[in-house]
């Protein structure tokens, strides 16, 4: 555990990736702001502050397609830089020579990517929401349903980022070439989106399954706020399972490889 934290700290200290993280933050903010339409939500028996909160939450749900299309390339490139680039620059080789297990290195890199994505999403969404209506922000922050809303929105965005990270990780550990793995990951990411956008019958595939469940769950929570929230439907759970499967496969390849640059 201590070694994992040490490698994770080392990953965060790598300044060369900072530029990509800033790019991810700016692209995410741009995608959110580009979609701030005149949104509405019919009120229920909730208090007005809670209704406003759900209206705000909806402004994070509507741009989800745009976020996937604009932010995925940056997440994929960051993942490829994290894995492939370190094969190419032989940084991985020097890491493996230290008394750290390959699994620890893999987990630390994965944790770094997930944490970086979550932190960037939190920062961009807070800036975006704070600028929507700064005058009523403080009262909205006191809403009792804020944790549920954060849980649902965060879980769905995490599922999307995890999908991109898993695809890019697999290509990175197999190809060990930053440009090639980033290019192929982007191809797969966009093909998945394109399939869902042209064929309604294939929307059980990610990322469309995640988009659809996102809308449904937001309204479920709005109506059934007193009952336990359904964070995911079955479809996005399949997408998350698919991502975990890809990551497990990548881990097997990563730990079995003996040649590190």
């Amino acid at each position: 555990m201590r070694r994992l934290l040490r490698v994770l700290t080392w990953e965060f200290k790598d300044r060369s990736r900072m530029l990509l993280i800033v790019a991810m933050y700016l692209t995410l903010l741009f995608a959110l702001q580009l979609n701030a339409w005149g949104l509405w939500l019919s009120t229920t028996t909730l208090s007005i502050v809670d209704d406003v909160l759900f209206c705000m939450t909806r402004t994070l749900v509507d741009p989800v397609v745009m976020v996937y299309r604009l932010v995925s390339p940056v997440v994929a490139v960051l993942t490829c830089v994290c894995f492939s680039h370190e094969y190419e620059t032989r940084v991985l080789r020097s890491l493996v020579l230290k008394p750290v297990e390959k699994t620890t290195i893999f987990l630390a890199k994965l944790l770094y990517l997930v944490l970086a994505s979550c932190l960037v999403f939190a920062a961009a969404s807070v800036v975006y929401l704070a600028l929507m209506d700064p005058r009523s922000l403080m009262s909205i922050l006191s809403s009792s349903v804020l944790p549920i809303a954060i849980l649902v929105v965060g879980a769905h965005y995490l599922a999307i980022f995890l999908l991109v990270i898993s695809v890019a990780t697999l290509f990175s550990v197999v190809l060990r070439n930053t440009a090639l793995s980033a290019g192929l990951s982007l191809l797969v990411i966009y093909i998945l989106d394109y399939i869902g956008s042209i064929a309604v019958s294939l929307r059980m595939l990610p990322p469309w399954s995640i988009y659809q469940s996102f809308y449904e769950n937001l309204f479920n929570i709005h109506i059934l706020v007193s009952s336990p929230p359904v964070v995911f439907n079955l479809e996005p759970l399949k997408a998350v399972s698919f991502s975990i499967m890809l990551l497990a496969f990548s881990w097997i390849i990563f730990t079995r490889v003996t040649e590190y640059g």
Partner: protein, 169 residues
Amino acid sequence: MVRGLRALSLFRYLTLIIALTFLMIASATYLRNASNTGLSEPLHASMDPYGTFSQVRFLASQPYHVSFTASDEDFEGVLTIKSINGDFGLEKEFKHSVSVDLRPLRGFYLMNITSLYANGVGFVLNIGWDGMVLEEDVIVPSIWVSLGFMLAFVTLDIVVKTVEGTGTR
């Protein structure tokens, strides 16, 4: 001295990130305004006798046109639009239909239609806005804030590089 320089160097990047944040907000708002026609689907619903229909809406600082038409000619009701923080309020009593033009400040609003009619009634609520009108209250301050922080970044960059240069000489 070294610690102070490192803090100044970090602060320099922070100012750049803030400058770019506001630049992104200005450019995305401009692009949205340039492409948004402001068309919204009319809402068809029904209301109970003496019932109330409420909606929470996010309104940008653009001209809005709100219209409500009941299916019954004798319908009487009250349309109320008020901002969540209480700095805007509008109340209008009407018979059968009502339409209102407004240019609100950016923020969340509560729209209420209260029936004063003894029967249940169907209605159509339409909220349209001129999406092509630029949200100047967002774009202009964002550009100024961005320019301010960009200037701060350039100044800090010169200071850091000068101090670094003095240190290595």
